[in-house]
């Protein structure tokens, strides 16, 4: 585990590389309610992986089980191939950046960062060298003598990061580390964190409820809901072809229309709406409905072009007719709410690239988009977003 061995890690998706951490059929039950429900997850060497989901979805519990702060009710946890399910946190080659940073208030910055190294009885000179180099990496040189209480939120976060990274763990767990920072600082730290991860080459498991954060930084991410993973893959894959209605609505905005699959086979399936209009969906983006024909067809707002009512539909495109209800200018673009003939309201987002005449509210328009940008998902159980569930007591 030398520095040079970790120096370079490509940003590509980490398929086929060594599995660093693995959850096998992990279930955690708190007071009869499953917080994590038969979870399977593999994290690869060197990747930046995010667990994304609303509060109460079990993402923090999963992280705490990896850290050793919770024991699973059933299932196995492997770290570097070794079963650590019931191992104490201080025996695990894993370090955590806590949500509140949890810096030691009685120690200065140097001693905070050196804490883990001292517990491992490293030589004094080596401790000083590694703490110094980590404080350099997190951009906090000459802060050694300060106390945690004398630091700003952003600085505390950097210390927490340095304190964990200095031990060169197999896996770094980050539990919503940005939640206490303001929006501007958060965006700065996202870039910074990604830079640091690339520089040190340590595997990051990042837990967040902020989809933008997860998409910006991750090599891969998983969207969790009610203790289960609903979608997993690279941010682009999960965004462009969400596997469930929940993923489609939680990760970015989606327009979803209810319809029935009327023909399959070939590269595109056909879905018929209630008003008999049809949409084409790439066959590989149609979920296994298990015989049922009810699906929801989705398209992202920025994929849709808005045109005049009499505009022709280019070949290979889906088209819907409607009337603009609201048109909002946001500076970088225009956002439209369009009522379609089938009674569904669609959101359309058009970039401000200087087009001459933007449709106004009341105008009849045609919405078109390339058929390959269409996806279909099974209607969600219960039909509502579960992002207001009670949170999992930390």
């Amino acid at each position: 585990m030398t520095d040079s061995a970790r120096a370079h890690v490509p940003e590509s998706v980490a398929k086929g590389r060594e599995v660093v951490a693995c959850l096998e059929h992990v279930t955690k039950i708190f007071d009869d309610a499953p917080a994590v429900d038969d979870l399977n997850l593999e994290i690869y060497e060197g990747e930046f992986f995010s667990l994304l989901g609303p509060s109460g979805c079990g993402k923090t519990t999963s992280l705490r089980m990896l850290g050793g702060f919770e024991e699973p009710t059933s299932g196995r946890i492997l770290l570097g191939g070794r079963d650590v399910t019931y191992q104490a946190p201080y025996h695990r080659d894993v370090n955590t950046v806590f949500q509140s940073y949890a810096l030691f208030p009685h120690l200065n910055v140097f001693e905070n960062v050196a804490f883990g190294l001292r517990r491992r009885h490293l030589e004094k000179a080596e401790v000083a060298r590694r703490v110094g180099s980590l404080l350099e990496i997190v951009d906090l040189p000459n802060f050694e003598k300060r106390r945690a209480a004398q630091l700003s939120g952003g600085q505390q976060q950097r210390v927490a990061l340095a304190r964990a990274l200095v031990n060169e763990p197999k896996l770094l767990l980050l539990d919503e580390p940005m939640s206490a920072l303001d929006a501007k600082l958060r965006r700065q730290m996202q870039i910074e964190l990604k830079r640091i991860q690339t520089q040190v080459g340590i595997t990051f498991l990042y837990v967040t409820h902020d989809q933008e954060e997860a998409m910006t930084m991750s090599d891969r991410l998983a969207v969790m809901r009610a203790g289960k993973i609903e979608g997993i893959g690279s941010p682009r894959d999960v965004y462009d072809s969400p596997s469930t209605e929940f993923v489609a609505t939680f990760l970015g905005a989606s327009n979803l229309l209810t319809g029935e699959i009327t023909s399959t086979g070939g590269p595109f399936a056909t879905v018929t709406m209630s008003d008999a209009s049809t949409l084409s969906v790439p066959s590989d983006r149609v979920p296994d409905t298990g015989g049922a024909t009810n699906v929801k067809v989705g398209v992202r707002p920025e994929k849709i072009s808005i045109g005049a009512a009499n505009a022709s539909t280019p070949p290979g495109h889906n088209a819907l007719r409607g009337q603009v209800r609201v048109s909002t200018f946001t500076g970088v673009g225009n956002q439209y709410l369009v009522d379609t003939a089938s009674g569904v309201e669609l959101t359309v987002y058009a970039q401000n690239i200087g087009q001459e005449s933007a449709p106004r509210s009341g105008d009849n328009v045609t919405l078109t988009w390339p058929a390959e940008h269409t996806f279909a998902v099974r209607p969600m159980r219960g039909g509502r977003r579960d992002d207001e569930e009670p949170s999992e007591g930390e």
Binding site: G67, G68, F69, A88, P89, Y90, V94, N95, T96, F98, Q99, S100, A102, L103, F104, P105, H106, F115, G116, R119, R120, R147, A148, A149, R163, A164, N167
Partner: protein, 304 residues
């Protein structure tokens, strides 16, 4: 918490204050007047009288005292009773140490594992102390007496020799002191431990500290303010205590409190008693100062 409501509220208060400038200036003094008078009449004045008395010479026959600036009285009293001072110091220190060792696990357990019943457990800890100090000590006299159930049992089981006794020994006095001052140790400890962020403990475990190291490197240093407060609140009253020694002790382990009490109430040597009280006060202050220097309260204050 709605911040806008708070700021609106404080703005309202400001307006009111502006309307009466005099009241605003006088308010802090008026508010502190009752406690200030209380302290002046019942603490500062008696302390002054005590200091004056320690420099007077009193006639043993009439009890009348005259100011003679007899500074020599202080070292004289110390030379007479230094043994009792040392006994008090040792008894109070041992009792405080025992209290810290007993209270820490209790306070730790209530603070970390008490859950919703924290207050219930605290009350349970305090219930015995609703009973008067003297009565509690007399009950201890029953418990430790030669015919008490503990010694009777131990003798019957032949676990101790037939002549074994506890009452009248230093152990009995220390036990009584430790028992009587336990809440003064437990409560400040509880308050300090309760304030420790549990996540900091998680962080210690995460950074390879086992349970023992996490305790020594994190819990104990973060409990230091509580330990310091507990020490002050236990050691100082125990140092000057005379009830425990009077009831549970014998003649060989007289504490300074008993000497002072006798000076005032038995020998009517007001000047001597006052001198001893002044020395006691000085020793206590010196002890606190040393303790603060050694354990560094400044570093404690920094993160409070």
């Amino acid at each position: 918490m709605d911040e806008s409501v708070l700021t609106d509220h404080s703005r309202g208060v400001k307006k009111e204050r502006h309307s009466s400038g005099w009241g605003k200036k006088l308010a802090p003094y008026l508010l502190s007047l009752p406690s200030g008078l209380w302290l002046l009449l019942l603490f500062i004045v008696p302390l002054g009288i005590l200091l004056i008395q320690s420099l007077e010479t009193c006639s043993p026959a009439t009890g009348a005292c005259v100011m003679t600036w007899s500074w020599g009285e202080l070292p004289h009293q110390v030379s007479l009773y230094h043994q009792q001072f040392i006994t008090s110091l040792i008894f109070a220190a041992v009792a405080t140490l025992i209290d810290l060792v007993i209270s820490f696990p209790i306070a730790y357990w209530i603070a970390f594992y008490g859950g919703r019943r924290k207050n219930f457990f605290l009350i349970m800890l305090l219930v015995p102390f609703f009973v008067s100090f003297i009565i509690r000590t007399i009950v201890w006299e029953f418990i430790l007496s030669n015919n008490g159930f503990i010694l009777t049992f131990l003798r019957n089981q032949h676990l101790v020799p037939s002549g074994f006794h506890v009452l009248g020994t230093s152990y009995a006095v220390i036990a009584g002191l430790a028992y009587n001052y336990l809440p003064f140790t437990a409560l400040p400890l509880y308050v300090a431990i309760e304030r420790i962020d549990r996540r900091v403990l998680d962080a210690a475990y995460d950074l390879y500290a086992n349970r023992r190291e996490a305790f020594l490197r994190v819990i104990l240093p973060l409990s230091m303010p509580g330990i310091f407060a507990a020490f002050l609140l236990t050691f100082i009253p125990a140092f000057g205590d005379y009830v425990n020694q009077e009831i549970l002790g014998g003649t060989s382990n007289t504490m300074i409190g008993t000497v002072i009490q006798n000076s005032f109430l038995v020998n009517f040597d007001y000047a001597g008693g006052a001198s001893l009280s002044v020395v006691l006060l000085a020793v206590a202050l010196l002890g606190i100062w040393l303790y603060a220097r050694l354990l560094g309260t400044s570093t404690i204050n920094e993160y409070l």
